[in-house]
Amino acid sequence: MEEKLAQPDPPWILGNKSLTQVTSDVCAPLERRGTMLWWSAFLVSSCFLALGIVAVTYQMLTGIGTWGLNRTVGWAFDITNFVFWIGIGHAGTLISAILLLFRQKWRNSINRSAEAMTIFAVICAGLFPVIHMGRAWLFYWMVPYPNERGSLWINFRSPLVWDFFAISTYFLISLVFWYIGLVPDLATLRDRTRPGLYRRFLSFFSLGWNGSGRTWHRYEILYLLLAGLATPLVVSVHSVVSTDFAASLLPGWHTTLFPPYFVTGAIFSGLAMVLTLMLIARKVMHLEDYITPRHVNSMTKLVLATGSLVGLAYLTEVFTALYSGNTFEHANLVNRIGGPLAWGYWLMVACNVLVPQLFWLPRIRANLGVVFLLSILINLGMWFERFIIIVTSLERDFLPSSWADYAPTSIEIATLLGSFGLFFTCFLLFCRFLPMIAIAEVKTILVRPKEEAKS
């Protein structure tokens, strides 16, 4: 045991890289032709995207009667997907902002792609409420602008309006944070790219960055400020999303547990998605020296912590329902764990509570193949969590005469697949055209020979 402790941890970046090696390693995938693997992934994801576009166009032209909703279950697939995608985004902000404030150096290898994941996930999430409006072309009615309807304003007392503001803010701040982080790297890329269209694009967006010490000085302050501003967003955005449910009076929704429950669930699901993406990206983009087993180890510990919190939230939900003495809460609980969707509830418990407990074992954390598999199971479980929360509270109404069942139609499933297509298409394009590792930030954590420096 003591021998084990005496061994120092391996450095975060393997291979004893020099500064210029970091630059060329990260830029390499952008400078060579796309590999077969990349093209096949791109082809598959754009097919899914095309399927989604067809499905959305069809439901726009026909109306959202094409969905499997009924008078009792008025929210189901669409809102599930919305909450699922917005949750995915939260881990990106946690990694880029909160871990920056806690000075966790390992985040420097993964923050860029995690932030990109956030942005694409929020785009996917934002599409669903817009589609749900039915008349998507009137989506701008959500914005409080002086209008010809007597200036009929939006209702600021409605959680749905809070949601609109929370999601828009989240998207814009994430985008600015990501872009500011990209500027120095775009300049690095600009300076090694041959003159041409791509270089012109890079020099436009790199804002004339030249690595000046005065600019770096202010840049670091700005970066910290944006991190400080993004941190409360991690907590507030999903809390606001949860008020869509918690501010209603339905048993199973109307609880004060919802905001923290949603936030931990969001971070948990997002971390699982980051793991899924990282484990693919390090292989496909040959970044094994930058995203190391030690990074995966740290990530899985976070997954374990948040997964246990999610388990605690499930238990609290059951306890509160039993302790409340409220007939409707009891009935809802019984329906969740033993009703028509009980299989979904237990699948969710298995994937979200039991699966992450495997990460207590160092052997499992070190086996990247198993970690990949478990991360996909967690993604699946977290999708089911939202589906179960939404549908089981609605399907058994206060009046048994209005009880109904819900099953998604092919159009709804195609829309979900389409959103995955959009997400992966965006992510693959990002991997191909922008540096997916923060070059400047990784350079700050390289281990440099110290003795030599002192001489």
Partner: protein, 172 residues
């Protein structure tokens, strides 16, 4: 602006910092440093004061918060009061989430714009750069020897002492 500038290229951060520290002690005017990543200590050598960007962030945040509260109050209680579930016209607690989000949004966008303005960065700008490699793996220190030929010689010597990879001069 036609000042003689002597600049040295270094291969290591430590050499840049050493040269900058010595130049500061000897009283030379350091024009700027260039590096591929933020070098801690370079700000001290440049004699930079604490940035006032946090104040800008506070200003825009307070502005966003105030405007959002005022606007929601004006819309819901003055311009067109609507009874929603018997809540009072001025249902202040319900206005908190939107006001909070607007505070974060205004603060973030405001401080980012302020940064662009104070650093004079804008899309498509062409900045002079001592070497294309400062965004890759080189560190550059620029000193103005203030005209005298002997000064220029001393600066060159200083750079040589600190393992400079190359010492060049330009007018700027």
């Amino acid at each position: 602006m036609n000042q003689q500038i002597i600049f040295a290229t270094f291969e290591r951060e430590e050499d840049l910092l050493r040269a900058a520290e010595r130049a500061r002690q000897e009283g030379w005017l350091i024009r700027d440093t260039y590096s591929p990543y933020p070098v801690h200590g370079a700000d001290r050598a440049l004699g930079l004061k604490r940035s006032r960007l946090p104040r800008a962030a506070l200003f825009f945040g307070v502005l966003g918060l105030g405007l959002a509260f005022w606007f929601q109050f004006w819309v819901s209680a003055i311009d067109w009061p609507i009874n929603v579930g018997g809540r009072p016209w001025n249902s202040l607690p319900a206005f908190v989430p939107v006001a909070f989000e607007m505070m974060v949004l205004c603060s973030g966008l405001g401080v980012a714009l302020t940064w662009l303005i104070v650093c004079r960065l804008y899309p498509g700008k062409k900045s002079p750069q001592p070497s294309e490699r400062v965004t890759d793996d080189r560190f550059v220190l620029e000193i103005e020897p203030e005209g005298s030929a002997s000064g220029a010689e001393k600066v060159r010597q200083l750079f040589q002492d600190c393992n400079a990879f190359a010492v060049e001069e330009k007018r700027g």
